[in-house]
Symmetry: C2
Subunit: 192 residues, 2 copies
């Protein structure tokens, strides 16, 4: 196994643990255990948990960029692309019900820790915000594109938090339907 | 200082620290330091952090009941009462921008910790949900009162999470206005 691959394995394991157990609650040894490597090998790659966090955020940013590029390619219209964003609540509902949203819960945790990586983690939100803003602009809503992007991001975050507390599949599906209805109203305002 | 008061002081200090730093990140000694009592005196009242958490949740439940009773008394109509709920986003915006929502962030953290107190913490959400449901019923929306309550709770949670990440006062005010608009549309659907 090359050094590069071991490092990737560590970051992938940390990513999952930070999401499922929280950053603060995850220990060095839990990550080493998940990757099945020695402490020595581990320290060769990362000296502190903050270094791992930085790598985890970089990994999530890269994965988010890939996801947004995929939606861009798959969706024929801006409305269809925004619907892809709305539907991650359904696609990822099993994890969301257990652990909340990976972006929202990390940003909230780092804010409380007053962690230096807070600004970096918030870039995850900014990626979605910028992408949504562009889609709303393409939809013909240039003037309020950013407001609509923030509104939709907030709705999606709120559904994650409550789905995490109450575990309701029906609730998620109903809210997703409401968001899609809201979206098509916004599109029709332009057409009308 | 009576034993009762010292205990109350501990719980109040822990409540604030759990909110501002997170439950996991707050240590016994930080709480003792905030209350300026000896470790011995501290242990007389609480043996574990989980015991403190239980008391903190009980305190928050009591304070939430008081708050809801106050809104009930102050608001002449169900619509006015629901607006009181919406406006906590503005009233508490300074803390929300720094630390998020106390209810949402605690529930999310305890879900990741898979903590036994998770169900108790979720009762905080349930208090708001039940109260909102009753107000929507009084508003004449008996059939979908719970859906509307959950929808509004989710919107409020989402605004907290994004205000915490992006610190925008304008964003909060605009979303509060949108929620109030949404509310008066729901009321007019009944009247119309």
């Amino acid at each position: 196994m090359s050094g590069k691959t071991t490092r990737d394995d560590i970051v992938a394991a940390a990513d999952e643990l930070f999401y499922k157990k929280g950053f603060e609650h995850t220990s060095f040894s839990q990550i080493a255990e998940a990757v099945r490597i020695s402490r020595g090998n581990f320290y060769y790659h990362f000296k502190t948990k903050d270094e791992i966090l930085e790598a985890v955020i970089a990994r999530r940013l890269a994965k988010t960029r890939d996801l947004l590029a995929q939606w861009e390619e798959d969706g024929e219209t801006p409305e269809a692309r925004i619907r892809s964003f709305i539907h991650i609540l359904i696609v990822n509902r099993a994890d969301i019900k257990r652990y909340g949203c990976p972006v929202g819960s990390l940003c909230t945790e780092l804010a409380k820790l007053n962690h230096v990586a807070q600004a970096d983690a918030n870039k995850l939100f900014t990626l979605f915000r910028t992408w949504l803003r562009r889609q709303f602009t393409l939809l013909g809503r240039k003037a309020d594109a950013d407001l609509l992007a923030m509104h939709l991001l907030a709705r999606s975050q709120g559904v994650s938090t409550l789905a995490n507390a109450f575990h309701g599949d029906k609730f998620i599906r109903r809210e997703v339907e409401e968001m899609c209805g809201w979206l098509s109203d916004r599109a029709q305002e332009v057409a009308g």
